[in-house]
Symmetry: C2
Subunit: 149 residues, 2 copies
Amino acid sequence: MDHTQARRWLGTAVAEARAGLAEGGIPIGAALYDAHGTVLGRGRNRRVQDGDPSTHAETAAFRAAGRQRSYRGTTMVTTLSPCWYCSGLVRQFGISRVVIGEAVTFRGGHDWLAEHGVEIVLVDDPECVAMMRDFIEDNPALWHEDIGE
Amino acid sequence: MDHTQARRWLGTAVAEARAGLAEGGIPIGAALYDAHGTVLGRGRNRRVQDGDPSTHAETAAFRAAGRQRSYRGTTMVTTLSPCWYCSGLVRQFGISRVVIGEAVTFRGGHDWLAEHGVEIVLVDDPECVAMMRDFIEDNPALWHEDIGE
């Protein structure tokens, strides 16, 4: 995948993360793109906003995309390395690629996805790292709750 | 875990699955129990009912339980072997045990969960098998959509 395209797509997820932060939420955003570069769905973590522990950024984007017959050729773009819950989503539904903003503040299941044939593009974006680092420093209990630790 | 208790708890998940079937949905139900045997949340697959591909039975039960500080000692009871998405949920949040109605019509990630320290109780319930077998026979496309195949 072209790096410029990965960064552009990541911008959609970052916008969702920033919106979540502005709402007092956990700043993780995601978007599901189809093979032609169209956004099928986008969303952000909603634990705080909706009191909903099941809505991580990736599941929010997946839900927003509605029912799809196939996820072949789709890309899940997320600001943070996907946790096991979201990695399981990618594997179960056969999402072809995951673009990841950063895996410094949290490392989920993306190596496991790569082993199972999912293309992983790790952007290592400084804004994504800074956003999560600041958030975790200010809200450690909330963050640990979100990843079940 | 006591087998009688496992069967009793499974009854809650089966009631959810039956309700889903009556609504024209995919008949998979689940419930999350705490260590004292209290239901924290229950739910069913809602792909058809809500047009929502992200709500599998286990995620529905998990959402219904609301925000929890810890899942230590909890049990996810489900009528069907959990797919990778729902297995990832169990692993990420540290749910201690999974009670499974059947793994005949579909085999998800429960061996992987066992490898990672989750207690697995497979009930092998004939009603669960029959409900899914009949549903898949009558609705193969819908079923394949639900598991991304």
